[in-house]
């Protein structure tokens, strides 16, 4: 198929067209994804989530630029950005106060940015995001950042698409942010206190560390070895110790980093931690396990949709409307309506 072949050859226009097909869930899009699927599984998927106001879009922006211009003797890497966050500037908002604008990244063939409409059903969005990520993966983008607002289960589910999940926090965002973190901490591989030049950054980090200990009490002992406190000092540029590959590391301790994205402070250190997590995933077999979990979730989502659409094809509109009317008039309950429809409509 021409579309899939063009995407594999690096044709950006073809890729953009394919992503639109995927978003519209067309047969062409499905067919192309099917062809591209054997070429997926190479990219490192990085979920970036956090409440509005934490500056995660700026962080994604700066990380993307860092990967393109890593300096020293490191090779630039190809970066995809998928913004599921409705508040993301990648989806049309503005990064106020951030001096790196999207146009600094536009025109670079090594970066591809796609924002997802957040309308429509949620399962639909998760499925579409999975497809978009697969297309970028097949097109050779090595790092794919998936940005979501980390406030609800939906976003958590979408973040589960990733191999490495960054949870972004910021000082002084109000008291009830704390409670959200309790749930979101469970999915964090790396915690980032962004806007760390603001008052309260230290206490935000302290609160996160406290919650981390509550969430993962077994990890507390490792902090006595000075590992977490070393890693959490995002401000200085010392690299992680070489000993990070030793036995202790077979348990991943979510590090806490401080960044000021708008000034590029802590960005190289964050990239280093992402790389260290990649190595951890590979060394422990977690990479493979996360792949399986992800593909299983996607399969079940697709199965559900296929079952429903097959069932719809077997049902007449008038029969459905009649049952719905009974339901609305409260003559039958929702479960009774389901039984009536399934036992009457399937045969």
């Amino acid at each position: 198929m021409i579309l899939a072949a063009s995407v594999l050859e690096g044709d950006r226009l073809a890729l953009a067209r394919l992503l639109t097909q995927i978003e519209n869930d067309t047969p062409e899009g499905r067919a192309a994804l099917g062809e591209l699927f054997p070429h997926t599984g190479q990219a490192h998927l990085i979920g970036v989530t956090g409440a509005p106001g934490t500056g995660k879009s700026s962080l994604v922006n700066r990380l993307a630029r860092y990967y393109r211009q890593p300096g020293e003797d490191q090779a630039p890497r190809r970066v995809g950005v998928v913004a599921v966050d409705p508040s993301s500037p990648f989806s049309g908002g503005a990064i106020l106060g951030d001096r790196v604008r999207m146009r600094d990244l536009a025109g670079d063939p090594g970066i591809f940015i796609r924002s997802m409409a957040s309308r429509g059903s949620l399962g639909g969005l998760a499925r579409t995001t999975a497809g978009v990520v697969q297309a970028l993966d097949a097109a050779g983008f090595e790092l794919i950042m998936i940005e979501t607002v980390g406030a609800g289960q939906a976003e958590v589910d979408i973040a589960r698409l990733a191999h490495t999940t960054l949870v972004i926090e910021a000082p002084g965002l109000g008291d009830d942010i704390q409670a959200i973190k309790a749930g979101i901490l469970e999915i964090a591989d790396i915690l980032v206190v962004n806007k760390a030049d603001r008052p309260g950054a230290k206490s935000t980090e302290r609160a996160l560390r406290g919650m981390l200990q509550l969430a993962h009490p077994i990890r507390r002992e490792f902090q006595h070895h000075g590992l977490v406190s070393q890693l959490s000092r995002g401000g200085d540029s010392q690299p992680p110790a070489e000993s990070s590959q030793d036995d202790e590391e077979l348990l991943w301790i979510p590090p806490i980093l401080q960044t000021v994205a708008t000034e590029d402070t802590g960005i190289p250190e964050l990239a280093q931690e992402i790389e260290r997590h990649y190595e951890y995933l590979q060394a422990t077999g977690d990479w493979q396990r996360r792949e399986e979990t992800r593909l299983k979730a996607e399969l079940e989502q697709l199965l559900q949709e296929a079952l429903l659409s097959r069932w719809w094809a077997s049902m007449t509109q008038s029969r459905y409307q009649a049952v719905l009317q009974n339901l609305v008039e409260r003559e039958i309950s929702p479960w009774e309506a389901v039984s009536t429809l399934l036992d009457g409509g399937e045969s």
Copy 2:
């Protein structure tokens, strides 16, 4: 069935037990809901959504107390609160700075508070919330407030359970809140600028009004009649004009109110607007239309689950694992896996 009968008689312990059954999706819970279903459809369902930090929990708290102690010649009304918001103090957090604690409401038989676990699948949460709301409705709670974090599609979907949706905003929550509102404005029946004693309340209200005009340009002309500006002045206690039932009102203009929940400022006015929206829904037939939309969504969710569980019952675990393994090894694509499973497993 004893459980359903006890709930109808006002037995709180039976109600609490039923809600647990609903959350665990037990056959007993389904059966009881089926029995209770003809008794539902009476309650006014009020969705309350907004970003973390807007103080929506305090607002729900104060509204609940107001409905219990409305003063003057109004009768107290029975209130249910369903907190889907993981950051809600009703779900275990703390309302810092709010002098009305939950214990002021606890012990009052005219109020029932239930917090929902936000773990598990999202569809599951939406279905469970629908069931919990139905149980409270059948148990005779006249106003049921459903509190969600308004940042993602999930929360929007859950807010759609309601007849009347309140979107809560607060001054100075950061720039990227603005973008979220664009999406969430579409579901708002009433906009509330809470924490209106903070700097920036006026400009937040102005921004909301601007976005409202963008979202619903047709409504602009009504503002020339002074209607919106009159309604939006939540601070003074003048009741809505009697003319609110005239022809102009057949188009609902989301009013913008200012409140300071922790000081009870604007709470009676908000309750008045909620009542006015109730009358609007009844007068226009929108009440019935929203009921139908809601029940239809619930039916489709249940259908999907039933189809999936019937299909699972027809599938052997080993066959499923074999297909999943092919998928993980990228020998087949997700859509090919679905075809294989459906065409091999259904017969």
